[in-house]
Symmetry: C2
Subunit: 698 residues, 2 copies
């Protein structure tokens, strides 16, 4: 093969496979060299899967290196994010061009050879795990295992939804596929099982997972922990299962991929048996997984490949050109055809074309807020989950790609879209707007992210306590800066009789702690409307919308400040005036009306009081110091925060001299009124503690 | 049947099944009546599964109502915790006797009829979901779906481990089974799939899941979201799968359970088809799931059962007596035999018998700490994960039932027990001490809780960022007050090149926010030793042990305070003296040595400085006010907290006038030193900010 390196200069030599082998070994050696230079990373899997990924990209993936943001491109998801060098090598060899945040070409490669030499270095385009927005061509951020699998189901759903919405006879705008490379770890994680069950149920025949079964995990052979029959399990999920015995057998891989392409009624799992670190002295060992091979092993491996032993980051002439050409011949042409089709579509269906372009831009249609109700003052009020249901059903018709669902709780979360034509997203009705996720919170989050990555405005819903089941996708939405909306209802001990297992305590704090996530807990129906507006206006932030089970009074906004104060995160609902307040009462969600009542009682007793609604700490922290100080003047030290949740984080606003009425333990099973009494969320107690604070701080 | 209610007075009438039916309908009507009285709860599943549960308890469960804490009892786990009335009805009818926290009989029933009438009321023994420690006979707290399934695998592992440790020829001290009732929701959750895969791999033939396939979920028919072939999936996991077509067919149920009892090489799944709300006008509808049936429906249902329509909470004469007798004849006798066997065992194997009694008491053996190393001062030091590995390997030989494992990361978390005989827990070597959980964090947590509920001291390990995958079991350990130990390594941007998907930011805050969880982040190797001691001494609190990937200097404890200060959560490492400090520097984990260095620099410049190590906020908050004020005097306002994590929660200690050097964004992929520079975790920056604080607060 060493000769081949110098003698092969085009893709013309293919019959004997030697040029393929050259290309494949280029991927392998780039991965080895990059990991070795960084002295950190995962060489073994790129080495094992190079033939698989090369075959997929060269002969199947409909992808235009010159237009990597073409909407109808096939998606490639590297769920085994630790094998990032495999993707970087492919992006480099394919000659994928870089696109900036505004969708413009920069004139650079997405990944240059210099970028590969900067693998895992600060501010490089080649971080340890692939990061969406950092590197053109990375379709989703992966690393935490199973997440890419979940995302891919959302991407496949999105393709079906886009096709249902935009395709017309003779205008197949959307018909792309979603490919995933995944591994033993992905297969062991429950989230991938949940996602696979959803994909099988939805008959997503546009979805192909390629599972690298390499018999090795970090602790050793998979036999120590993973002996199940994965193929049988996936048949149980309703998948088409194909086995490829040798990852180096590119013909068998191509045949399997061809079968996938011809399968129209179910998703496909291709189980590929591979040897981790193929060709190296560490081949087949867990030692090939997560560390550099070492200079000597790299040399020996190159020797085994017939590669120049002392060459580093070598891309033999013709290898990159050939892969670029293959992709361009296939995907580039498809993209050109699509562009022509779209021009014609624009003439025939101008409204639909405009709608899709708006979607691409991340903008919302003119007047999308027009039907959002204003809720009249009402001392009895409605639950914020009910208000949420009214609001999304007012917005839904204006944002056709607002598609969401619950983890088998929509009658409780009130998140069903119920207007004419909304329907269920099911096989046979991919134009439906309601996804029935089943009791699969984790996959729901990951799927929703995949949808958000494919032009959809996706939302999820479950009870707040079950946010625990879907932390990883919420975090990844924040890392990726995609505006997935996570609705969480039953947001406190307000859950009542279901008891401590169903009553969130720490969950508000745990969401507020995620950087870049806007956690909003609106205090009444009109704040709910504002919260949904903000959530949909976000283009780079996911939102967690926290809603109550129980009815909340709708505040009289002629008496108290307008609900759009929510846009600043915290705002003064009412203030006695006549100098600095003697006390600031602050609250979110269901406790806002409680502190409003306390405020009124204190005011009636001649106390200068201020009451602050604080639905979003995130938005508040983005305001300038002047605004923040205008809400919470430093000089006012008597401050009381009331929230039916743990206290963590409130000290930032109440300080050493203030106090909180919060939960210091888990809740209990009982009717809400009994719980409020037990835990001190009564008007009497709030007034009492406020008075004590005033005296203490005088 | 109405006649039957008055005429049947003993269990003598069995041949025609009418007495069984009477007993079954008693369970059903108790569930209906309790939910109706509370006007809250889940009647439909108890009504559907009463025949299944009754058959299991009456004829198979080896359980002594008079000694519900008998160690070798079969375990019954209601993973469908919302069906709690099924369990409460069984506990009542079986006449299970109450045991208090000290293991003494109270003379009361575990669940009286009055308790059932208090269903879902404050401080009752019949909360909405079954709660361990609240109600005798509840083996684990369930409600969040899938958790009971996960726990059950831990319980089955524990049985195998106890048998391997204590059984001797002729002395089968442990040979019990674990039964689970689970539902569609359990089956959809990924955690149950992970747990099932583990159980199949480990060939846990002592484990039987009875899956209630009722074709209904909250959003409607299961067909809208759940059409997979569960049986096939479980065959893929290596389970024995049995189908029962009708939940009312007690003969078929008994036959299936018999097959389970005879299966010795794999776990068993019995799929039972049932009708939710059986016999009621809402039968087969999702409306029978989660709310009271309504007075009229209750009446009509009783009519359909041939039950006195106006009778409430009726237990026909003989029903309770018969169930109690059946259990006592079988389980009571088994328990008596076991007790005699144990007395004989104590004579033959006094050491082992004493060891088991110690285990039951929750106490640790004399001298268990004897081999824990003291780490000498070392400026280079060792990673706290490495120190952790040394410590558990010093403790392990003294606590034979300390059994743990990692989610396929033990070479990285350093949690493997490596001493002679520790070995792997695998089929054929159930005496192994290391469980290979595979990449299944969520199941790992739930399994570890099941082990902790069955006399074992169980620990888990993974990277801190993956705590996100296992939040629910961590929370449930805290709710249940079981001392599971959760080890999390790679605890900050110290992860380095793996980048933001692998760098925890918010995770410390999210763990500290869980009530009753002791989160400890030790600052050097000697604090690691103290942390492990505390974790093992806890009997009612789970512990999260937070350890570094990177090396941490080992502090010179002749110069700085002793590491056992950790027992108070926070302690003064050093203080200049000569009056109140001008600045208090505080930190945890890897940042302790950084603030110590800053302290030394400030002291060298004549500044009065105090440095506080603060490994456990949880323990610190339990100290009295005098101690807390002695660490953080109110008058000292210049306070600086340094932690390579998000700032949430630190305001409690630094106040309005202090500052934090913490992470306000996600991390990045780069070598650690570069990251520390980028994010301000350098000696220069700490000293600079400290000086600014001193000036500001002068």
């Amino acid at each position: 093969m060493a000769d081949a390196v110098s003698s092969q200069s085009s893709s013309s030599v293919r019959e004997d496979g030697s040029f393929d082998r050259l290309s494949i070994d280029t991927i392998r050696t780039l991965a080895m060299d990059a990991v070795q230079k960084a002295n950190s990373g995962h060489p073994g899997t790129p080495m094992a899967l190079a033939p698989v990924a090369y075959t997929l990209w060269r002969d199947f993936l409909r992808y235009d290196p010159a237009t990597p943001d073409w909407p109808n491109r096939d998606r490639f998801v590297l769920s085994i994010g630790h094998a990032s060098m495999l993707l970087y090598a492919l992006l480099h060899l394919a000659g994928v061009e870089e696109i900036d945040a505004d969708g413009r070409k920069t004139g650079k490669l997405a990944v240059s050879l210099d970028d590969i030499k900067q693998f895992r270095q600060l501010d490089s385009k080649t971080p340890g795990h692939p990061e969406y927005r950092i590197t053109t061509g990375v379709e989703t951020t992966t690393g935490p295992l199973g997440q890419g699998c979940g995302n891919s189901v959302g991407m496949a759903i999105a393709e079906r939804a886009l096709a249902a919405r935009f395709n017309r006879p003779e205008f197949n705008l959307f018909d792309h596929d979603v490919y995933v490379l995944c591994g033993d770890g992905d297969m062991m994680e429950g989230v991938s099982g949940e996602a696979a069950s959803v994909a099988g149920h939805l008959a997503l025949s546009n979805l192909c997972w390629i599972y690298d079964s390499n018999h090795i995990t970090i602790e050793g052979a998979t036999e120590i922990a993973f002996t199940e029959d994965v193929g049988k399990r996936f048949e149980g999920y309703g998948w088409n299962v194909i086995h490829v015995d040798d990852a180096n057998d590119t013909k068998a891989i191509a045949a399997a991929l061809k079968t996938f392409c011809e399968t129209n009624d179910k998703p496909t799992l291709i189980i590929v048996h591979s040897v981790i670190g193929w060709g190296s002295p560490r081949a087949g060992s867990e030692k090939a997984h997560g560390e550099a091979l070492g200079e000597e092993n790299v040399r020996l491996t190159k020797q085994a490949y017939g590669w120049p032993e002392d060459a580093h980051f070598l891309v033999p002439e013709g290898v990159a050109e050939a892969l670029n050409k293959a992709l361009t011949d296939h995907g580039g042409k498809a993209r050109d055809d699509w562009q022509a089709l779209f021009e014609s579509y624009r003439n025939s269906f101008p409204t639909e074309a405009a709608e899709f372009n708006l979607l691409r831009s991340g903008k919302l249609s003119e007047g999308w807020q027009a039907d959002i109700p204003t809720f009249p003052a009402d001392p009895k009020g409605i639950a914020s989950r009910d208000a949420g249901g009214k609001v999304i059903n007012a917005i839904g018709p204006h944002i056709p790609m607002l598609i969401g669902g619950a983890a088998d709780l929509s009658p409780s979360t009130k998140t069903n879209l119920t207007f004419q034509g909304a329907g269920s997203f099911e096989p046979g009705s991919y134009d439906g707007r309601n996804v029935h996720y089943g009791v699969r919170e984790h996959a729901m989050g990951a799927i929703a992210n995949g949808m958000a990555l494919t032009y959809l405005r996706s939302y999820t819903a479950t009870f707040l306590v079950f946010a625990d089941y879907m932390r990883a996708p919420i975090r990844l939405a924040a890392i990726m800066e995609v505006p997935t909306i996570f609705v969480f209802t039953h947001d406190s001990i307000g859950v009542g009789e279901d008891g401590p297992t169903h009553q969130p305590i720490e969950h508000l704090a745990t969401l507020r702690a995620i950087p870049g996530l806007d956690t909003i807990r609106p205090g009444d129906a009109n704040e709910v409307a504002e919260a949904w507006k903000i959530a949909l206006e976000h283009t780079h932030e996911p939102t967690a919308l926290i809603l109550s089970r129980q009815a909340l009074p709708t505040l009289d906004r002629t008496k108290y400040a307008a609900a759009d104060g929510l846009r600043k995160g915290a705002y003064i609902l009412a203030d006695t005036g006549g100098g600095d307040p003697q006390i600031i009462l602050m609250a979110t969600g269901s406790e806002v009306s409680l502190v409003v009542d306390a405020h009124e009682k204190l005011v009636a007793d001649g106390i200068r009081s201020r009451v602050v609604s604080m639905p979003s700490w995130y938005l508040f922290e983005q305001q300038d110091a002047a605004y923040r100080n205008s809400i919470f003047p430093r000089s006012v030290r008597a401050r009381l925060a009331v929230e039916q949740a743990g206290s963590m984080g409130w000290d930032r606003y109440v300080g050493f001299d203030g106090a909180t009425i919060t939960m210091s333990t888990f809740g209990a099973s009982a009717p809400l009124a009994k719980l409020q009494e037990k835990f001190g969320f009564t008007l009497e107690n709030v007034v009492k503690v406020a008075r004590e604070l005033i005296v203490k701080n005088e």
